[in-house]
Symmetry: C2
Subunit: 360 residues, 2 copies
Amino acid sequence: MVARRTNSTHVTLADVARTSGFSASTVSIVLNEAPLSRYVAAATKELIRRTAAELGYHPDAMARSLSRRRSQTIGVLVYDISDPFCMALLRGIERALYETPFLPIIMDADNRPDQFERYLDMLIGRRVEGLVLVANWIFAEIDPLSKIDKNHIPITVVGGDLTGRGIQSVVVDNEAGGYAAIEHLYRMGHRKIAFVRGPEELVDSSRRWVGIERFAAEVKLRLDPRLIVQLPGLKDAISSFDGGMKFTAELVETGREFTALLASDDLTALGAIRALAMAGRRVPEDCSVIGFDDIPHAALNTPGLTTIRQPMLDMGSLAAKLVLDAIAGPAESEAKLLHLLAPELLVRDSTRKKTTGLRK
Amino acid sequence: MVARRTNSTHVTLADVARTSGFSASTVSIVLNEAPLSRYVAAATKELIRRTAAELGYHPDAMARSLSRRRSQTIGVLVYDISDPFCMALLRGIERALYETPFLPIIMDADNRPDQFERYLDMLIGRRVEGLVLVANWIFAEIDPLSKIDKNHIPITVVGGDLTGRGIQSVVVDNEAGGYAAIEHLYRMGHRKIAFVRGPEELVDSSRRWVGIERFAAEVKLRLDPRLIVQLPGLKDAISSFDGGMKFTAELVETGREFTALLASDDLTALGAIRALAMAGRRVPEDCSVIGFDDIPHAALNTPGLTTIRQPMLDMGSLAAKLVLDAIAGPAESEAKLLHLLAPELLVRDSTRKKTTGLRK
DNA sequence: TTGTACGCGTTATCAA
DNA sequence: TTGATAACGCGTACAA
């Protein structure tokens, strides 16, 4: 029945044309529902469509892009896909793109700058029309700007602030988050609060700290320096768990009293909880713990981790929409660079009111 | 300095040719280090390379593929990227591909069959030379076979057994895993063991159960039906946490005694732990809990979750290598369909020896 | 050593 | 209503 294809490759437009008996142009017009298809006989359309379906014709995206001079593709370059932080971001990006004719191409740099660069090149080679960078941790040493800039590809970073380099960035309002975190602890009656700060290199960390200090100043709460520890620079996601555990353990060993602990992020908080448990301190009975991010684990932990939620789905969607906008409107008019999204306090079970009595 | 480009699009081979003063073919030959480049003057090569770099030339991957008739691309279709299970798989795939000239294109079906199909079409349209399906949960209703088959694209499923449909699959040896899990509990002295079984539709679940029953038969351990609950079919990853919590709570309420609990997977185990905690039962003091998978959170939980580890990195790599092999060698000689990888018992802190004394 | 011409699968333009 | 033809950017015989 079906006309034999010339060789072992894919079904091509020419195959459909030959089989249906019409010219390639007509077939193309019909299959793409181009304006001109209004003038094509219904019977013709029908036959062409059926033939295409029967043959299992899938238009060659590359040939199409070449001809249209548009790839309809946006690249998503993730610095570390194993970071629990980024899955929701990816979802958000996907969702925003699903409505559009754009297709995301996700690549994972696996924490390696060289791979990051290589993939960046490949994405440019694939003529992505826009780029979303999912940045976590420090990928500051990378300078994507130069290459991208030369190719005028709209680019947005999500999860990290690169406005300093003139790159549009979508981040949670870290300062507000830090403020909300300590405020929550304070309202619960806690005054002796321990802090596990994030590494210095992390801008996000510093912003959070600014919020914390602002609140402390407002209510005249003194932050005891002896209750503050700082994580060293870190290489990958998991090490912040280890860091939280290690430094909390040291803190406990000093014997210094505290009824609550504010961690720089959820992973750190989870590490802190482990350390507290090992020291025989129950959460939240003996010590409240609050994190930051609301990674998937936070809800799964027992007790559920109170945290400052980053609206990652929204952040992802927004980032995608921003590059879409940039693609659509060449309104280079110095569009807003920094996009700050509001965090949200999520009270679960790892924090509670300070008990009036003294335990232990 | 730099020659003006014709328009606002990308730098093209012709641009490099024009600027460097050589013909397009020479440039192509040099830049690709084609065999003929052996005969090109060193100075010429040097000049061409420099010009390309200065101009920021990135060969158009699509034009190249069109000409070479190879996309050098393999598609990775994930059914649910938010499943903690799959990140390591993706890593494994990436790693295996990194060595090769093949580029992965990752897409996330977001749990939706329609999106799955749509993305499948797009991947075919992009002429991926191979396909890795990352299957989690039931995506049984989907029939990718027909479309793929028509296009002779090598395909491998990882994380789900689709050998029934003749698709090469990479899965952990679930039966061995189930066997190892109950054996561990048994060796720790536990006899009154509760089970939270996975949904019936899940083949993986059934295989695990087979292993459990086999061990029980070998040591003549009677499995008390009143200590066995089964999760209903589930829609997404998180609901297995809820299921574990709900059914464990019901189990506890019956008042039936048990000193250990074997969950169908880690998420379920985490839910069980939550339920036990709410009932005032400590893990592992009052009840040991073992899971299956070793999702990232298993190690982060306090207590660390004892579990049966799936070697996901290896599974991902193997899956990728299998499609690579299929692409390279058209050895259609009924290659082995089922690839079983050995699981590994990972003893952490959620299981311990049964205490001889009776605690409440 | 280098240049010319053609093909890859589609789309757009212009004729018929 | 439909069909022919010229790009699109690149790789590669083949010729020079």
